[in-house]
């Protein structure tokens, strides 16, 4: 699904975030990306989303090289990015409106897109209700709680029926109970939809709860992907189980090794 091949990227000459960095995400997998701030995890997400361009190497999604945002990739950011002047309903509709604006050109919208107003409306209702904000359709973002805004942003993305979901610290601005609630919602979503997803987080527990595979990045130039397989994803209610705590400390150790030594070669 996603092939990152010999990726090079840095901001400016001296900086290096990725060098000859490669990994592959298979279709249907749920990944989390974790690392300290400044490690390039958001950059990696933007690169995959086509919002940043690699300085070297390439990223392919379904064997197609990414040079600009891809219509079937859904992106949810930490700051919900809702239009403040539009209601929840209008915000959820925004992606569909943009697609209608361009028509099925394959660049801004999928080339095989079909515009069926009735189906679109049903899909909007479905996702708003599924995310529990069906009754807030006519409210403006300023009238919602943070959690509700993030739900609206997720609905806006899912309405477009993406085949790949990218999320950049989607829940880090939320209070703990709401964050855990939304983690549960997103895990259920993945179980039902089997959609390929990549969620960036700085929270170790979140990485374990949401990721079937966990990619650990560090502050030195990332060359070798540190990938931790994880069978504990979805263990929302088991945060105090010994397994869960062990997994978390395994990740914590991986996060700490950075500057001292190059990671063991898997290549």
């Amino acid at each position: 699904m996603i092939e990152v091949q010999n990726l090079y990227f840095g901001y400016g000459e001296a900086s290096c975030l990725f060098a000859d960095f490669s990994f592959t995400v298979e279709k249907g997998e749920a990944w989390t990306v974790i690392g300290p701030s400044g490690c390039g995890k958001t950059t990696l997400l933007y690169l995959i989303a086509g919002l940043n361009k690699p300085t070297g190497g390439e990223i392919r999604i379904n064997s197609e090289k990414i040079t600009r945002p891809r219509p079937s990739t859904g992106l949810v950011l930490q700051d919900h990015g809702l239009l403040p002047w539009a209601t929840v309903l209008d915000n959820t509709r925004l992606g569909l409106k943009i697609r209608k604006f361009y028509g099925p050109d394959g660049k801004h919208s999928p080339a095989d897109m079909q515009m069926d107003e009735k189906k679109n409306k049903e899909r909007i209702d479905y996702w708003l209700n599924w995310l529990g904000i069906g009754r807030l359709q006519n409210m403006y973002p300023a009238q919602l709680s943070r959690g509700q805004r993030q739900r609206a942003a997720i609905a806006r993305t899912l309405v477009l029926e993406p085949d790949l979901l990218l999320m950049d610290e989607p829940f880090s601005a939320l209070d703990a109970p709401i964050r855990e609630e939304l983690q549960k919602v997103m895990f259920q979503f993945h179980q039902q939809s089997k959609m390929t997803s990549l969620i960036v987080t700085h929270d170790i527990e979140e990485a374990v709860v949401l990721g079937e595979k966990i990619l650990v990045l560090d502050n030195c130039c990332n060359r070798f992907p540190k990938i931790v397989p994880n069978d504990l994803s979805g263990a929302v209610g088991k945060r105090s189980d010994p397994d869960f705590i062990m997994k978390c400390s395994q990740i914590r150790e991986l996060l700490a090794v950075c500057a001292n030594s190059p990671p063991l070669k898997e290549h």
Binding site: P69, P71, L75, K97, I98, F101, Y140, R156
Partner: protein, 250 residues
């Protein structure tokens, strides 16, 4: 959240205004301050005659100025707000020109553009131009990077960004700038119309009535100009309420 002006608050304001005017007229008791009881019927009567034409002349000039200013300032403001590098070059200049009262350029404009309606319109347009320019530029540069990115990720290119983000984001700013500057615009119009024209409320108030001591008629002109400012203010306000609903929610 802003506070809405209601019909009731406007009505009570109007009643108080005329009440105070009447009291002042009784207290002063001189020809220079006639009672509204005399002026209002005269005003209604004259509005269907020559005063109406003066009103129309002034109204047209302000509308034309608003149009010209918006057409030039809004796109320029958007462009500056989106291009920080050019903005950093232009903004010191704008900051210097912005607070200068543009009315002082009246003679210059008359000489350069010529004595015509066009030059009067241009003078007002320049005033409104800077108000809109600054507001739209700031609105456009204040848009969060994340907002733009997430709309881009929904498939928006330059055109869709303009249509769905920049345009709706700057419209409330344009309207607020217009509403705030419309008072200044009418004031400048009043001065500009005092010379080199025979139509307009400024001409009517100063030349046709004040200088020949026709005080009640002069007051009908003043009422006309007041009404002009008020009508424009509330018309823009009404559009604002429609466009910027999200700013007025509880």
């Amino acid at each position: 959240m802003k506070k809405k002006a209601t019909f009731l608050s406007t009505l009570s304001g109007t009643i108080m205004f005329f009440g105070l005017w009447q009291l002042a007229a009784l207290a002063v008791n001189r020809p220079i301050l006639p009672s509204p009881v005399v002026v209002v019927p005269l005003f209604l009567n004259n509005m269907t005659a020559e005063l109406g034409l003066h009103f129309l002349a002034s109204f047209t000039r302000v509308l034309a100025a608003i149009f010209v200013a918006t057409v030039f300032a809004a796109p320029l403001g958007l462009a500056l707000g989106q291009m920080p590098r050019i903005d950093s070059i232009a903004s010191p200049l704008i900051a210097i020109i912005y607070p200068i009262p543009k009315i002082i350029f009246l003679p210059v404009i008359y000489v350069v553009i010529g004595i015509s309606d066009f030059s009067k319109v241009m003078l007002i347009a320049i005033i409104i131009f800077f108000q809109i320019l600054v507001v739209v530029r700031d609105e456009a540069s204040n848009l969060k990077k994340e907002l733009i990115l997430s709309v881009k990720s929904l498939g928006a290119g330059r055109r869709a960004l303009f249509r769905y983000v920049y345009l709706p984001a700057s419209l409330p700013g344009v309207l607020t700038a217009l509403r705030v500057s419309v008072g200044t615009a009418v004031a400048v119009l009043f001065i500009a119309e005092q010379s080199l024209t025979t139509w307009g409320l400024g001409y009517y108030i100063v030349i046709e009535t004040y200088q020949v001591l026709m005080y009640p008629e002069m007051y009908t002109g003043i009422m006309g100009m007041g009404l002009l400012g008020m009508l424009l203010y509330f018309a823009i306000y009404a559009i604002e309420l429609k466009v910027s609903k999200h700013m007025y929610v509880e």
